[in-house]
Amino acid sequence: MPLVLLVMLPAAAAVVLLLRGRRTDAAAPAIAVAVAVIDLGLAIVAAIARPSAEVTALNSIPGAVAVDGLAAIAMVTVAAVFLAVVVFACGDIGRGEARSRFFGTMLLFVAAMFVTVTAVNIFTLLAAWEIMGATSYALIGFWWSEPGKARSGLIAFITTRSADVGMYVAAGAALAAGAAGLNLARLDEVAGGWRDIALAGLALAALGKSAQLPFSFWLSHAMAGPSPVSALLHSAAMVAAGGYLLLRIEPGITATGWLGPVVAWIGALTALLLGAVAVAQRDLKQLLAASTCSQIGFIVLAAGVGGVAGGATQFVAHAAVKSLLFLVAGAWLAALGTKNLLRLRGAARTHPVAGITFTVGALALGGLPPLSIWVAKDQILSAALPASTALYTVGLAAAALSAAYSAKALAVIWTRPASVAPLDVRAGRIPVSELLPLPALAIAATVLGVLGVPPLAAAWSRTLGTPDAPTSPPWEFAMSATLAVTVIVLVVWWQHRRLTRSDELVADTAWLRDWLKMEAGIDVIVVRPIRALSAWCSRFDDRVLSQAVTTVGSAVLRLSRVVNARLEWAIAAAVAFVADGARRLATAAVRPQTGLLHQYYDQAIVGMAVLVAVFILMR
């Protein structure tokens, strides 16, 4: 029951808000906050009670949801972040905006997200999964009249849906493999090639949704949406859902034998390369987006090497940290009108609450011990170490990069502006509702690290139903801690010096800033060939297929004309000839009929003579 309510309440509120449209603009924020509060309570109840629910959908494939340890953790995380984001949005999405549409879509999203994390089978999962994608499209394009926004939404939607093809295939493969009711938990039990295809398909969909390589570029476009959307969908919830799904199907991934390393390497490389992309950004939201890909890369890496406990910790810690950072970025965007890093110089000094909470979040993101992400990342790295030293090394390098981009942002917001800008430009105030959720998230970002401390870590693993996370050797902790601290200090110093000297950003590399030119690559490899093929097919359709039918039609017409002109004429001529001949014969036949008796006798004699002649000759 709590589970059904948890989903139906936001869904029902969403339907009302979306159908009523602008008429409920005034009431929308209150409704959304109320639903978010109740949902957080329901999520906690459901996490403890572990209910399940089922509804008849397709024949032999029900729509089914259930709460296990992993789902419980994700549910509470999402509900908490949702509440924080919705409170923030009450201030951020102002009175003149289409609030009903905004909050309605957000509520629809969160309902779909709850179904995603609790889905029992692929059918239920895919249904919720694609609705999340559609709400993401609608929210990125929330300001649809501004040029480019809707296009950004389209790119995000189409890219993730391309990866979702994998999930459709997975459903068919699971059925062919004989996984009863397409149950996700049973995938590791069936054997054979179909199982591998099913798991690979699910993994593909997960990588697309999580903006892993080579799909990452869509997340850059997703930043066109309002900041609360970036804070919820495009960091803590929907994007993380891909990593979450990989954790959920981890037993199956391990069972295939080959998929684990593939997934782990994609995660590790995304963590590394997108970490580098984040370092090179000039735009705060773009920096955070690239960092999201990189951080979720660690969850993906965890799923690939069987480190479910560490992956779950990272899911929770990253949700708190990244939603906090996006909210602060959004608050500054609203107050200062910019997300350009150079123009945000000194922002922490003019807006101390935002600045301090941002600092806490950025330090956590950079992996500063003992904050949450440091703990999570270490859990993951210690799971990767026995699997492959190379993986571990790449992971460690990615961790160093996350320290670097966090430090870069920190240095920028705390460095005093070169010249004192006019006050009225810089002093946009941040409304209370936007500040309200920040401290809570900052506290969560700080203390969630306790999940990795031994007594709690054991309980955490038990909750998840996985074996205890392997404990790293002490040198591992020491090394990653030293690395993080060193990099943060160095980059802060370097960036600060660069700012004060020449007002420039460090690591300003164009191809990295362009997200590795991924989009251009996809454009050349996929989009343009499809466009060309489409144009070719269209011409073929008009000039060949359609023309062929017309040609057959006109050929019949031409034939009929030929028949008309030639054959008909010939037949008519022949008929005329026969008629003519008959007429002439008749005229000729009439001539002997003279009426004179002696001439008849002459004719009879000639006739007789002919007959006699014939008689004699024929003998």
Binding site: S162, V169, R531, S534, S546
Partner: protein
């Protein structure tokens, strides 16, 4: 009961012939009332069918008609026909509501549509090949007059092409039917008896030839690539209600013919040539989507997405023929998905064509590039189009997803590569539908190229209530099927299982 449902519209049409012309303003309302009563009767029949056995044939009527030809007036409904019959009732009512303001030769318009409704219903309930064929040809005749009489300027040519093309197709169909008749002993046109006899069991060559003839006729009507070229011009030139019925109902006559005639009567041949249908299906899916992507005319675009959507149906039915014994459950799922797709496509494409008509009524063109930023001036229209677009691209929560998910999931095991390829179709359709939506409704509303003067957008009126009440119920029904599909699938499932048992050997 069933005969009343079928012939009520025609009887009303016949009576309307005697109503004086000056009462013409009543005609649209009489049409609405007739279609509403007919739909109510269909709902009663549906309820009765479920309360009764819920499987096999219901409301069966079998009257001697041409006994020397072994043909009778044999009609009934089952899990395949009932959903399509209900769809027919819904779509004709929607068209009736939409046409409430039709000014041009209203009398003939109403009478033609009532006649066409009887023809459509009759086709879907007939269990006799000759009766089926008569309705099949009459539908072409009625639609010819609708397109030619009320269409846009190029309608005469498009209507003629439509008529000749599908009529030639129907001749192939007739040849196939005659072949079946000659093969059966005793000679009969009765579908139930033919299924029972399985007359061509031991003769794969003749069975193949007859399947080819029947499939050719049905493929033209469906239409599948490469027999689809009559569809885009017919849709582009047809009046709105004509497009709705053409896409929503007449195309289903083709796909319905496969599940009603081709598959059960020629099961062995279907198995032998299943791969052909799978390939035709996947080519229609991808080719239809790709050509649609290149279109700039809204109606042509929707027409090509119809080719794409029909392709999924053929794919699912073909895959059911490829399945081996162990995949019975999957095949039933694919067939059930194919029938769901017929209903879903009728609702959603019907809605899209109605909305295209709404757009044309305001802007006077179907050219997508002539519009921009309409969401500002016509929010309700925009909302309806957004829902229709998302439904059409197969978003969960709509009927299209239920249909396509079943088709893909049920087909993949039997035809892995074609199915995986055709899943790509949903990505392309998503891209093209959303792109169309964005161009017409979103953005600032300023066109960069100024060779074409933009349609009068500032003064554009939002949907009128008759337009709203024609479109909204179709979308609502699609959502109901998308969220609570069980009521529909429980009707389809027994029929799908029975068919799979036949085709599966």
């Amino acid at each position: 009961m069933l005969s009343i449902i079928v012939f009520l519209p025609a009887i009303v049409a016949a009576l309307l012939l005697f109503v004086p012309r000056k009462r013409v303003r009543l005609f649209p309302w009489i049409w609405v009332a007739t279609s509403a009563v007919d739909l109510a009767l269909i709902i009663v029949a549906w309820t009765g069918y479920i309360v009764g056995t819920g499987t096999g044939f219901g409301y069966e009527e079998n009257v001697r008609w041409l006994p020397m030809l072994g043909s009778g007036y044999h009609i009934a409904v089952d899990g395949f026909s009932l959903p399509i019959v209900a769809l027919t009732g819904v779509l004709f009512l929607a068209c009736a509501v939409y046409s409430l303001r039709e000014q041009r030769r209203t009398r003939s318009w109403v009478i033609l549509f009532l006649f066409l409704q009887t023809v459509s219903l009759g086709l879907f309930v007939s269990l006799d090949l000759l009766v089926f064929f008569v309705f099949f040809d009459l539908s072409i005749v009625a639609m010819y007059f609708i397109i030619a009489g009320w269409g846009h300027p190029g309608a005469a040519r498009a209507a003629l092409q439509f008529f000749l093309y599908t009529f030639v197709g129907s001749l192939a169909l007739l040849l196939g039917f005659i072949g079946l008749y000659l093969a059966s002993t005793p000679h009969t046109f009765d579908m139930v008896q033919l299924v029972h006899q399985d007359p061509l069991k031991g003769d794969p060559v003749v069975a193949g030839i007859i399947l080819f003839a029947i499939s050719l006729g049905l493929a033209v009507k469906t239409p599948t690539v490469p027999f689809h070229t009559w569809l885009p011009p017919a849709h582009t030139e047809a009046p709105t209600a004509g497009s709705v019925i053409l896409a929503g109902i007449l195309l289903k006559m083709g796909t319905y013919g496969f599940v009603r005639i081709a598959m059960p009567i020629l099961p062995q041949a279907w198995r032998d040539y299943a791969l052909v249908f799978v390939i035709v299906g996947v080519v229609s899916v991808l080719y239809g989507a790709l050509v649609a992507l290149a279109q700039t005319n809204l109606k042509r675009m929707i027409a090509y997405t119809s080719v794409n959507h029909m392709g999924y149906i053929i794919l699912g039915l073909g895959a059911a023929g490829l399945a081996t014994g162990s995949n019975v459950q999957a095949s039933a799922l694919a067939v059930s998905g194919a029938v769901t797709q017929m209903v879903s496509h009728g609702l959603l494409t019907g809605a899209l064509f109605l909305l295209a008509g709404v757009l044309y009524a305001r802007g006077g063109t179907y050219d997508i590039g002539a519009y921009g930023g309409l969401a500002k001036t016509v929010p309700v229209f925009t909302g309806l189009m957004a829902v229709a677009v998302f439904g059409s691209l197969g978003l969960p929560g709509f009927s299209g997803f239920i249909a396509e998910f079943q088709i893909f999931t049920g087909s993949l095991g039997s035809a892995p590569v074609p199915t995986a390829l055709s899943v790509i179709g949903i990505v392309i359709t998503a891209a093209l539908l959303l792109r169309m939506f964005q161009r017409i409704f979103l953005g600032a509303g300023q066109r960069s190229h100024d060779e074409a003067p933009p349609a009068p957008q500032a003064s554009m009126k939002d949907v009128f209530s008759r337009e709203f009440f024609a479109v909204a119920p179709l979308l609502a029904l699609s959502v109901v099927i998308g969220i609570l599909p069980a009521f529909l699938l429980h009707v389809i499932d027994p029929a799908a299982r029975a068919l799979v048992a036949l085709v599966g050997g």
